[in-house]
């Protein structure tokens, strides 16, 4: 895999993590649509996917995400409401982005008609002109944006989305924010010096500059001081650095977002431009200082004040000056599997060594054998612990399932979780997904009633579905509980007799009767739905859990 491919892969992984965040924010928004933190979280996830997608050549992802991001920017600025329809559409868009990422990975195909349908629906919901799924692409349309072009874009969007004209200044950000909401445009002085590995990491400084231009009016000065003689020039390294003045309504954090994937491989300083720094921009080219003065060409660190500020937060950061304090690293799962396999082989060899040492009555060999045994045990424990993951991600994944099923079944369901920090081996986590999904689907389809039925039964219209995990001795106890109508004991018993699973005379404990629902093909459902009812799911649950050397217990009482 080439270096660029590796970083494209890194983008894929990062983008999928952002999609998880986006999904969590959208699902939480469906409960509290006015929460600005959640809206901001959704917007930031979309913004990052768009920006980094553009940077790593995922233009279709960036173009599509741009439109959804624009809608959430309107929500962020109070010009649009996060209605259930918009949230559901954003969830569909999220699925489509996943499909596009999968397609780029050579897995499956992202149907372009889905993209068009989502964007057409988005147009209906936001009242914006119909965006073309391919054009305009967020970066390509603004290869050389002008202040006027930006102003026009902003203006038309504000008019169509709000029905009122909201003027913006020339040179302000090419998005939909307004002065009254975000304040006047400000000049920012940005010093950007790519590090030695920036290009090798797959980043493209020109795309970063284009992204900055999307935020507002950009004046730049490229410094060529560091470009060596051509014979000594490393062609894979960027020697050019830039001093920039950006006039924008964007905040320092939003500007920093542009550099989110390269911050660790560049020197970057962003600070409000002081009058002396702005002054050269205003003068004409003829009046510009001679190159020898290098007012714009010099590095920010040449100036004592800048040198001081560069190393101080919040506006400045010098990646090279700070120690590598990453608290975690990303390791491909197959490497962990290989590590565990090797440790397994080591344990076998260590056992043989122990046997040989025991038979030789050699105190030195016995001592070495004991030391190897101790280290092997520690290594085994350590390598196994590396594979332990909290079950949180699995639990969170089901929020979407519950949301979608509740919508499809016209039921009101609230998912709560407990013990999400409980750790299990990665393999177990991977294999728990299907059984838990089947349990949740059955619970929502058969156990939980409609809101009307619940009201009639004197219950809260919104049902509770509770997922929990906790350690129980050497095992982990995972439970799925709901406050629905419960399992009909007699219906299970009579259905089991019909299927010949039990005889009419059989005396079964309650738990044994409930366990019958785990039999292959068993279902008490009177009709088969899209969700469940074929009697396949619970059998799958039992087999999968048993494959993990686990077992299932079922308890129920009429509710």
């Amino acid at each position: 895999m080439s270096t660029i491919d590796k970083y494209k892969q890194a983008f894929q992984e990062e983008a999928r993590e952002r999609l998880v965040e986006l999904e969590a924010a959208l699902l939480a928004l469906s409960q509290t649509p006015a929460d600005p933190e959640l809206v901001g979280s959704a917007f930031r996830a979309l913004h990052t996917i768009k920006g980094s997608g553009s940077m790593f050549g995922f233009d279709d992802v960036a173009a599509f995400t741009h439109h959804i991001e624009t809608a959430f920017d309107a929500v962020r600025n109070g010009r649009l409401t996060a209605t259930p329809d918009l949230i559901n559409l954003a969830l569909a868009a999220l699925d489509h982005i996943k499909a596009m990422l999968d397609q780029a990975n050579g897995q499956g195909t992202a149907d372009p008609s889905v993209s068009a349908q989502i964007l057409a629906k988005l147009q209906e919901l936001t009242g914006t002109p119909a965006p073309n799924p391919q054009e305009p692409k967020p970066l390509e349309k603004d290869k050389l944006p002008t202040a006027a072009a930006n102003t026009n874009d902003t203006h038309s969007q504000c008019e169509t989305e709000t029905g009122t004209k909201t003027g913006t200044r020339a040179g302000t950000r090419a998005d939909t924010r307004t002065e009254t909401q975000t304040g006047a445009a400000q000049d920012w002085h940005i010093c950007f010096q790519p590090g030695a590995d920036l290009l090798r990491n797959g980043a493209n400084p020109l795309l970063l500059l284009r992204q900055l231009r999307q935020l507002g009016s950009l004046h730049l000065m490229a410094s060529t001081d560091a470009i060596p003689a051509i014979a000594e020039l490393d062609p894979d390294r960027c020697y050019v650095s830039w001093d920039l003045v950006l006039t924008t309504t964007a905040t320092a954090d939003e500007i920093r977002d542009v550099f989110i994937f390269v911050e660790d491989s560049c020197e970057l300083a962003i600070k409000p431009a002081t009058p002396p720094a702005v002054a050269p921009v205003a003068i004409s080219a003829a009046e510009a200082p001679a190159p020898e003065t290098k007012l714009w060409g010099r590095r920010a660190t040449d100036h004592p004040e800048n040198a001081q500020n560069l190393s101080s937060k919040p506006w400045g950061r010098r990646a090279y000056d700070t120690p590598d304090n990453a608290s975690s690293i990303r390791v491909p799962a197959p490497k962990l599997d290989q590590l565990v396999n090797l440790v397994g082989e080591l344990v076998t060899v260590q056992a043989r060594l122990g046997e040989i040492a025991a038979g030789r009555e050699d105190p030195i060999m016995a001592s070495v054998s004991e030391e190897v045994e101790r280290l092997t045990a520690a290594l085994r424990e350590n390598s196994m612990s590396i594979r332990m993951l909290p079950i949180r991600a699995t639990f969170e994944r089901f929020r979407r399932l519950v949301h979608d099923l509740a919508r499809d079944l016209h039921k009101e369901v609230e998912l709560s979780t407990e013990g999400a920090e409980t750790e299990l081996d990665k393999t177990v986590i991977d294999q728990l997904g299907d059984p838990l999904m089947h349990l949740i689907r059955n619970s929502m389809d058969h156990g939980i009633e409609t809101a009307d039925a619940r009201r009639a039964a004197g219950k809260r219209p919104t049902a509770d579905l509770h997922l929990s995990a906790r350690h129980s001795g050497a095992q982990v106890l995972i439970s799925v509980a709901d406050d629905g109508k419960g399992i009909d004991r007699e219906a299970v018993r009579s259905r089991a007799m019909e299927k010949g699973l039990i005889t009419p005379e059989a005396q079964l404990a309650e738990s044994e009767i409930f366990s019958l629902i785990l039999a292959p093909g068993f279902s008490t459902a009177k009709q088969i739905t899209d969700v469940s009812g074929r009697g396949v799911g619970m059998d799958v649950v039992r087999r999968n859990v048993e494959a993990l050397r686990g077992h299932i217990e079922i308890a129920s009482q009429p509710g």
Partner: protein
């Protein structure tokens, strides 16, 4: 081949074709070095280049500076593609871009340590 070097008695022509980026930067560097070593004028023909990145721009800049030191001509075959002009303008290499423009004399202006670009 995205990069080819043609030698004739008066100059060496480095032709760029298609996407010229970091993937072929080493090849471009060698072509430029070979052309400069010939002692004749150096002509860059980017008419069939579709995209260029910063690695190309800084190599052309370094070659142009080297040509100035050696006293040999450094010229662009015009017209240069707009995509190339745009990339140079976006990167702040206005002078190199201006030299590459169709209405400009092909000789690159005097060197400076920095280039300035402002919004259109």
């Amino acid at each position: 081949m995205p990069i080819t070097l043609d030698r004739n008695h008066a100059s060496c022509v480095v032709r760029l074709e298609g996407e010229i980026d970091i993937c072929c930067a080493a090849e471009l560097k060698q072509a430029l070095l070979d052309a400069l070593a010939s002692g004749t004028g150096l002509e860059i023909d980017p008419s069939h280049a579709t995209t260029v990145d910063i690695t190309v721009i800084q190599l052309l800049w370094a070659a142009h500076r080297e040509a100035g030191k050696k006293g040999v001509a450094f010229t662009f075959v015009t017209p240069t593609p707009e995509s190339m002009n745009a990339a140079m303008r976006e990167a702040g290499f206005e002078k190199l871009s201006a030299a590459a423009g169709p209405d400009q004399a092909s000789q690159v202006p005097a060197l400076s340590s920095s280039c300035k670009s402002e919004p259109a």
